[in-house]
């Protein structure tokens, strides 16, 4: 309890729900897509919107191409009488961090966190260019696949990994996704077959890229009496931190992630044995970097849900990592887990959340 990010007030993940991840939801708008997810996250524990003191969401208007889409999405909840509400232009994992901080302050006992990602409505490769430095990088329109390929190339050249390692990660992820009914890409393809794929941007082959996904997710956080009332087996957040690296890609060593390492240190990842890790590493090679930065050994089961290579709803995929890790603890499949979320190009911003069963 000495480090800044260690939990002072115990907060539990009381409920988690997610939509099915699909390539494109042509039918429903944001509120219609979120509504069943919100209904499920409340329904799981028999509560209503009146039982939460705070609502925080993570999304970005750039995906939808319309202003204030996060305000429109509130129609899925019905924020009347007026609610205490906030939004981050980040993955929902960061929205959860904001809610967790408020819970730490002790002013509230329960919060709803949700996020929605409609990655299918525009050219995702172009949209993600706009998260770069607007003066020197963005005007060149370097797309996210090419930037990730620079990172993968640097990783290969450093001797830390090979293309076969990337293929092994992709093969394992999509095979594990066969057990995840919400996954978008689930199949059992051996490494040697994957290595016959063409390059999209060398050294990245098709299988090392995340799918483009529409999806949504929600979590209810609870502290105090509500944490134990709402769960027979509460899943506690025992460490939580997020860190970012410089905006300038050229100033970073793309083969390592000091921000993950720092966040892991503050969150206390090494304070006990980690059974499973849900890592938000959309490109296969990024798992190598984050695994090393977290200090995980080979005994840790990584992305049993299939991870972001099986479904990557932008803005929700990080929150889903936390939810998937919590679900496995609640199901008794793990005692202690770490969940990771990322944002920005080449793992620029990273969040680490440590979860433990009661």
């Amino acid at each position: 309890m000495s480090a800044a990010g260690r939990t002072v007030r115990p907060v539990s993940i009381a409920s988690f729900a997610q939509s099915r991840s699909v390539r494109r939801d042509n039918e429903r708008n944001e509120a219609e897509g979120l509504h069943p997810v919100i209904a499920e996250v409340f329904g799981n524990i028999g509560i209503t919107k009146d039982d939460v003191d705070f609502i925080c969401s993570g999304s970005t208007d750039y995906l939808i191409g319309g202003p204030f889409s996060f305000v429109m999405a509130l129609d899925a909840i019905g924020v009347w009488p007026p609610r205490s509400e906030s939004h981050v232009e980040m993955d929902g994992a960061w929205a959860m961090y904001e809610a967790w901080v408020l819970l730490q302050e002790g002013e509230i006992d329960a919060a709803l966190v949700y996020s929605f990602g409609r990655s299918s409505l525009g050219d995702l490769n172009e949209i993600l260019t706009l998260q770069l430095d607007p003066y020197y990088e963005a005007p060149l329109w370097p797309d996210i696949v090419s930037l990730s390929a620079l990172q993968a190339r640097a990783l290969i050249d450093s001797g830390k990994a090979t293309e076969a390692d990337f293929a092994a990660i992709a093969s394992r992820s999509r095979r594990d996704a066969l057990g995840n009914p919400n996954a978008q890409v689930a199949k059992d393809v051996p490494v040697e077959v994957l290595l016959e794929d063409d390059y999209v941007v060398a050294p990245l082959r098709r299988h090392t890229l995340p799918p483009i996904t529409d999806g949504a997710a929600a979590i209810v956080l609870a502290a105090g009496d509500k944490a134990t009332q709402w769960s027979e087996r509460p899943v506690w957040i025992t460490g939580f931190d997020h860190r970012m690296e410089t905006h300038s890609l050229g100033a970073r060593d793309l083969t390592s992630s000091p921000s993950v390492t720092k966040a892991a240190e503050v969150a206390g990842v090494a304070d006990g044995k980690i059974d499973i890790a849900e890592l938000h590493t959309p490109f296969a090679h990024q798992e190598v970097i984050v695994k090393e930065a977290l200090g995980l050994d080979d005994s840790v089961v990584i992305n049993p849900s299939g991870g972001p290579l099986a479904a990557n709803p932008l803005m929700s995929a990080g929150l889903i990592r936390i939810g998937e890790a919590a679900s496995r603890i609640r199901a008794g499949q793990a005692d202690r887990a770490v969940a990771h979320a990322t944002s920005g190009p080449c793992l620029q911003q990273n969040l680490v959340c440590v979860l433990e069963g009661a």
């Binding site: 939801d25 042509n26 039918e27 429903r28 708008n29 944001e30 509120a31 219609e32 509504h35 919100i38 919107k49 750039y62 939808i64 191409g65 319309g66 429109m72 509130l74 129609d75 899925a76 909840i77 019905g78 924020v79 009347w80 409609r118 299918s120 409505l121 525009g122 050219d123 172009e126 949209i127 706009l130 607007p134 003066y135 963005a138 005007p139």
Partner: protein, 168 residues
């Protein structure tokens, strides 16, 4: 170089043009509304909890957070709840100024929407005025509010303030 830079002064502007194209997913409820416009009618939805009728409906009640599933066909007339007269030219303006922009509450609806008022001198528009939609020719109807050319006075006496005061 340093001298040359200082003579030219600092760079204060950098143009980096951005254009992104998006597809639009109106959703289940709004698709019904848009298909209604294609038939020359206003189709709303009623909340099963509070009973309010939204036009257009976005599929959920923003007050109660429940799905709206009951379709409600509304009439062609409504009431001006508030208005402004636009006198300022701006880029992309397609209507000759001055013109009237009004919030119109369709009869039976609990949500007003914005419409253009024509066929009346701008100094005669007033709150409570009863208006009706003028649609494009049947052959030109499309799933868009562009199918409504404008609203015009329908000749009925002004609505009582009490009937629309909740919608200002």
């Amino acid at each position: 170089m340093a001298d040359e830079t200082s003579e030219q002064g600092p760079v204060t502007t950098l143009a980096t043009p951005i254009r992104l194209d998006f597809e639009f997913t109106p959703g289940i409820a709004q698709s019904k509304f848009l298909r209604g416009l294609e038939r020359g009618e206003f189709l709303g939805q009623r909340c099963g909890t509070c009973g309010k009728v939204y036009v257009p409906s976005r599929g959920t009640c923003p007050t109660d957070g429940v799905l709206t599933t009951e379709d409600v066909l509304l009439g062609n007339s409504g009431t001006v709840t508030t208005f402004c007269v636009v006198n300022v030219p701006f880029a992309g303006q397609s209507i000759e100024i001055p013109y009237i922009c009004a919030q119109i509450l369709l009869d039976g609806a609990n949500l007003s929407f914005m419409g253009l008022i024509q066929e009346i001198p701008t100094d005669q528009i007033r709150m409570g005025m009863r208006v009706e939609a003028v649609w494009v020719d049947e052959s030109e109807l499309i799933p868009s509010l562009a199918s409504v050319r404008y609203f015009r006075p329908n000749g009925e006496p002004d609505a009582d303030y009490e009937t629309y005061k909740e919608y200002l």
